[in-house]
Point group: C2
Chain length 222, copies 2
């Protein structure tokens, strides 16, 4: 028995694809990509690590050099893949914090565009779907997401909605009480695309646009 095998995670700090097999895209990334495919196709329980390994062109044991077990691989996948989006989201929400205040309506369009382009149109939508579908069975994950993504995102939206009410951009406080209403159609779009798109394709961008116009248009129609 290898006495040190416990906390392995080699190269965690370097991030360089070093030595042996120079084309060597980092194995870790290969495995994560393969895992996304398998998990989003089969769900956590039915996904086989043998298949992940095969897809990543790696032996099964290699997975265990980089991840403690199946669940760690899964959770790490879901955690790491969202942070870039959160970064962008925060940038968008912050934009206009200082100088001229961007109207909430404009902000909503930007957030929607970001979401459509960076999530719904990419494989990240599968990440979101996995969180929605497997979340209830992984309390740690649900808590992480609530803390890091949901409460932050909705908190920011709520703050902007509050300001919009004060400044007269919004007449109703519905969005302050339920900022979820701003993003609800985005979730619906994700679920739709993964189940019903083959029967009736959905234009997510148009959907979000129509939704936001619904929320704001009438405000301005005197």
């Amino acid at each position: 028995m290898r006495t040190l095998a416990k906390k392995k995670k080699p190269k965690v700090a370097t991030a360089k694809p070093q030595r042996r097999s120079e084309q060597g895209a980092d194995k870790r990334e290969l495995i994560l990509a393969a895992a996304l495919d398998e998990f989003s196709q089969n769900g956590f329980a039915s996904a086989r690590l043998d298949d992940v390994a095969k897809r990543a062109n790696v032996a099964k044991g290699t997975i265990y050099l980089y991840f403690k077990d199946k669940e760690s691989l899964f959770q790490e996948l879901l955690r790491t893949q969202i942070s870039p989006v959160m970064g962008m989201l925060e940038a968008v929400l912050a934009g206009g914090k200082d100088a001229k205040p961007v109207p909430l309506r404009e902000l909503a369009h930007r957030v929607a565009d970001l979401f459509v382009e960076q999530v719904i149109a990419t494989r990240r939508k599968d990440i979101v779907r996995l969180i929605l579908t497997e979340g209830p069975r992984f309390p740690k994950l649900a808590e992480f997401y609530y803390r890091e993504v949901i409460s932050r995102g909705l908190g920011a939206l709520r703050a902007r909605a509050e300001r919009a009410v004060k400044e007269g951009e919004l007449k109703s406080d519905a969005l302050v009480r339920f900022p979820q209403l701003i993003v609800a159609p985005a979730l619906t779009a994700i679920m739709w695309k993964s189940m019903f798109d083959k029967f009736e394709p959905l234009d997510a961008k148009a959907l979000m646009k129509a939704h936001i116009e619904n929320l704001f248009d009438k405000e301005e129609r005197q």
Copy 2:
């Protein structure tokens, strides 16, 4: 192999809790109820039929007297539990078909109430969640739902929205193009309740009310 086991379904027509063990709620129903618990707690793949049997106070073999296999049990569960709701829904949507036309706004409130009371507040919300989460892995099921529930429901909503536009109740055709927008928050509420309710409880009824007011309120504000 029992040659008849294929299309078994004993007593399928009677629907009476008959004979033996007079407290005897029909075994079939017992099994379905237990299955809902296990499946919604663990998902299809991780749910164990041993546990379903235990919960239903029945031997494992008994399950196979009533259902062909695990997947049949699952699919039948999801199919049968929604039809009563569809019945109610159709009643609501038909109400006002003949005499005085109920405004779409009023209709939306009724649909929302129905959904909140009959689905979100009950164990049926778990049925919907299972459909959303497992649907992609059961194409037959997804197709069934699209055909029997989604396209019908959205079709009805779309027709009413069209009329509302013609009659001036709605200024925008957004709801005609995307009737999904009417129900999106309901799905969000279901997902929220199963993942985040313990961190931040959501008042689904108030959410739906705020949403519908958002959609219609401003139309009428001169």
